[in-house]
């Protein structure tokens, strides 16, 4: 009846595992209690869970990402503290538990922190930047969200029922095969990743079609804001790279569940094939994560330098070049696995070449700041912190791209330092900059700048303290993922790294305080104009938060930096004579149902509860058929109601100062604002 699920699956065997489970369960219960206390179930269910509005979906993605950021950070803190004390003793984490923690840290940070954060920012902003009213496929958009949430749910529940994988976030066979890893851990990992991966593929399709088909009149490709350009390339990468993850993990699941022999030691398996398939996705994935962050930096650096972006065309071309080259470097993840010298050389050279377009971008951002009037708001601080730190990571990457060097560094903490040096400043700083930059757009009030600045300094100082020692340790030969060690010379570095992790914790706490303080003070920081930063692209033309339809009348784009141009021409805030009816997607619970059923399916397959798996699949199929037979998926917002919403907006605009940055030292936007009044 319950497959291999027995009472032993609950973690009563270890106090640490049991407290992890208790925190997860209590977290879930307290969210339920909070919603009940606020009597918000109706709002949660009918305004949010069932919503197909790209803006609400974007916000839900980012909420998921922030929750998972905390979970992933707890894992990191546990690893750092374990390594800081485990010289010549076992520390406080047994090896099996430590292995689960580094696996879940990597899995969560890549799949369930970075991916939802990216999808959330894209969802909220990209349609507004191109002057669209929604994404091309609002229903599929919601399905993507709930599939991602289902995958995250599987990772979380593995803490309470059963165990998580011990095979690392990349799950290499044969260790991840049934022979060496017979429990449920690897299965949890596989199905979490597979289900979320399907969601990501669909997101990619959705974003690509939106950008190609839903742009406002006059929004030529080469007038698109750079964030949209990076989303365009990222979507292409998602569409073409995620199938490789699906195949790699799907085949591994077949091996484990049905005793097949794709990646086994014996019977004709070929484990190198898994590694090839995995990194065929895994390397483009790095660029899937980082390109939209590059887009955020481009928007932020232009806005807070009060200048047009330097080298727009070169930034676009560099983005496309990175997109193409990202498919030609995957083998650098396993130089040491014995390919011929020629093959290794090819991939080594391609890897160093990919640094060139990235370098072009860095120069473009620097030259955007050159002779700009810089305003140091938190998003800009994160951007500058990124520029400085990312270059260091890039240099260590070029070093690792040389196969002979890689032979020495492979699997050491040098590698760990390198990719954290790319991903924390490159990806996370980008998303946090985007979060602080676009928060007023999403919620109508600004985030507290003092606490934002504090979070930045904690993050960047903590980052350097946590990861620079790992470079040194890697050069000294410390392998990654060590649960304990007996070389005394390593310990001081690991203690510094643990202190760094603690300072990052302060950075996360600052983010939490920032959010709380900003909500408390929201009446003073209201964004009445929809354009709190003297912005340049079309998302600042909508109100904050935007009306459900974003644009009552689709804007007519005549230039790059469309909104800046409209302000210059004095047409940014003109109220049209009349409005038209607008068709919008109706809310529906089907996407959330599909996500829930996918979660049940994943759980059932992990525990071999086959009847439940079949039931969940039938449920998903029926839900899709019901939706596919529904021809009335939209409702019409009558012109009358649009008029009411817009009249209220223009009444607010008349009262508001045109720009809240006017008081900032270095503000140079006066001429633009005169034109717009």
């Amino acid at each position: 009846m319950f497959g291999r699920l027995t009472i032993d699956a609950f973690p009563f065997y270890s106090a640490i595992a049991a407290s992890g489970a208790a925190i997860t369960v209590l977290g879930a219960l307290s969210v339920i209690a909070l919603i009940t206390y606020l009597r918000a179930w109706r709002v949660v269910l009918f305004d949010w869970v069932s919503s197909l509005d790209h803006k609400k979906i974007g916000i839900m993605y980012v909420m998921l990402a922030l929750v998972m950021l905390m979970r992933g950070f707890i894992d990191a803190a546990m690893m750092r503290s374990q390594q800081a004390i485990a010289l010549g003793n076992e520390g406080y984490l047994p090896a099996d538990h430590f292995d689960q923690i580094f696996t879940s840290h990597g899995t969560i940070m890549i799949f369930f922190m970075a991916m939802p954060f990216l999808s959330g920012l894209i969802n909220h902003i990209m349609p507004q930047q191109i002057g669209a009213r929604d994404v091309a496929f609002p229903f599929m958009n919601a399905v993507s969200l709930w599939l991602t949430a289902a995958g995250a749910g599987l990772v979380l529940i593995s803490l309470v029922i059963g165990k998580f994988s011990t095979a690392g976030w990349s799950g290499y066979p044969p260790y991840s095969g049934a022979e060496y890893n017979p429990g449920v851990g690897v299965d949890y990992w596989l199905w979490a990743v597979l289900i979320a991966g399907v969601g990501s593929t669909m997101s990619g399709i959705n974003f690509l079609v939106t950008i190609l088909k839903c742009r406002a009149p006059g929004m030529h490709l080469f007038r698109m804001p750079l964030f949209t350009w990076t989303v365009f390339v990222t979507s292409i990468l998602m569409i073409f790279a995620f199938p490789a993850l699906t195949v790699a993990c799907g085949l591994l699941a077949l091996d484990r569940t049905f005793g097949m022999h794709f990646f086994t030691n014996a019977m004709g398996g070929n484990m190198m094939h898994y590694v090839n398939l995995f990194w065929l996705w895994g390397h483009p994935e790095v660029y899937i994560l980082i390109l939209p962050a590059f887009g955020v930096f481009s928007e932020v650096v232009a806005t807070f330098s009060q200048k047009r972006l330097f080298g727009y065309i070169s930034l676009v071309l560099a983005t496309m070049a990175i997109g193409i080259l990202s498919f030609t470097v995957w083998l650098h993840h396993f130089f040491t696995m014995g390919s011929s010298a020629d093959v290794n050389s090819f991939f080594g050279i391609m890897t160093t070449i990919i640094a060139v377009p990235t370098g072009v971008k860095v120069f473009d951002w620097l030259l955007t700041m050159y002779r700009g009037r810089l305003i140091f708001k938190p998003p800009m601080l994160y951007t500058i912190g990124f520029l400085v730190t990312f270059v260091i990571g890039g240099l260590s990457g070029v070093l690792l791209a040389l196969p002979p060097v890689d032979y020495v560094m492979h699997n050491t903490t040098f590698l760990v330092a390198h990719f954290h040096n790319m991903i924390i400043p490159g990806v996370l700083f980008g998303y946090l900059a985007g979060y602080m930059f676009w928060f007023p757009k999403a919620f109508g009030f600004k985030l507290n700048e003092t606490w934002g600045t504090r979070s930045f300094w904690c993050w960047i100082v903590g980052f350097y303290l946590a990861f620079m020692p790992l470079y040194v340790l890697g050069l000294k030969g410390m392998p990654r993922r060590m649960e304990h060690y007996d070389i005394a010379a390593w310990q001081p570095h690991l203690i510094v790294a643990a202190i760094g992790a603690f300072i990052i914790l302060l950075g996360i706490i600052c983010l939490g305080i920032q959010l709380a303080v900003s909500i408390r003070d929201r009446e003073q920081t209201r964004d009445l104009t929809g354009d709190p930063w003297n912005g340049r692209s079309l998302e600042w033309a909508t109100s904050s938060p935007p009306a459900p339809y974003n644009f009552a009348i689709l804007p007519n784009v005549q230039s790059i930096d469309a909104f800046w141009d409209m302000k210059h021409r004095g047409v940014a805030y003109q109220q049209p004579d009349r409005y038209v009816d607008i068709a919008l997607p109706k809310n529906t619970f089907i996407p959330a149902f599909i996500g829930g059923a996918a979660f049940v399916f994943g759980f059932a397959v992990v525990w071999y509860i086959w009847w439940l798996a079949v039931l969940a699949l039938v449920g998903i199929t029926l839900a899709i058929i019901i939706r596919a037979s529904d021809d009335e998926t939209e409702f019409v917002l009558p012109a009358r109601e649009v008029q009411t919403i817009e009249d209220a907006r223009f009444a607010k605009l008349a009262k508001a100062p045109r720009n809240e940055m006017v008081d900032d030292p270095g503000f140079a936007g006066g001429s633009v604002l005169e034109g717009s009044t």
Binding site: G204, V247, H261, M267, N270, S629
Partner: protein, 204 residues
Amino acid sequence: MNEGASATIETAALPFAEARKYEEKAFGFWVYLMSDAIIFALLFATYLVMLDNTAGGPTGQQLFSLERAAGETTLLLLSSTTFGFASVALAASNRPRVLQWLVVTAALGLGFLFLEFGEFNGMIAEGAGPDRSGFLSAFFALVGTHGLHVSVGIIWILVMIGQVLAKGLTRPVASRIMRLGLFWHFLDIIWIGIFSIVYLPGLI
């Protein structure tokens, strides 16, 4: 292709916004097919990597039957043709014809699945199941994934038959049949790959 042509004729008279919706859906579906094509490309690559990994078990030459593969090919290619007829009938808004050809297509698809199921069953009975060797795992994964797609396609055809019966050839229904056509022809192209990469070289 017929579908493309008929879609343009169909949508020519539509209001702009509605026509754009269908165009977006068709384009999105093409993009999905490209993504799906990558899955098959990687399964083909897996098959070729695993080709010699028979672990002392049977090889393709011992297992494959040209007659059966030819039968499967005939049924599937015929079903693609009959779907083409359904699309022509759709362009002419001939509802009974559309239904008739969709039923024929589904029947041919079922025939294909019947043959494939028999082939798989026979191999497993001989002890040449997917757990016998890396080669057989790759074979079952590639051909089985195609078979799974055909099964989904048949369910989709049945749903569309139901929709045509219940709603008639309305524009949303027609646009769905158009995308179903893309899907069905795509599976045909994949099968041609399977026939020429799996069965033919396996038997030579």
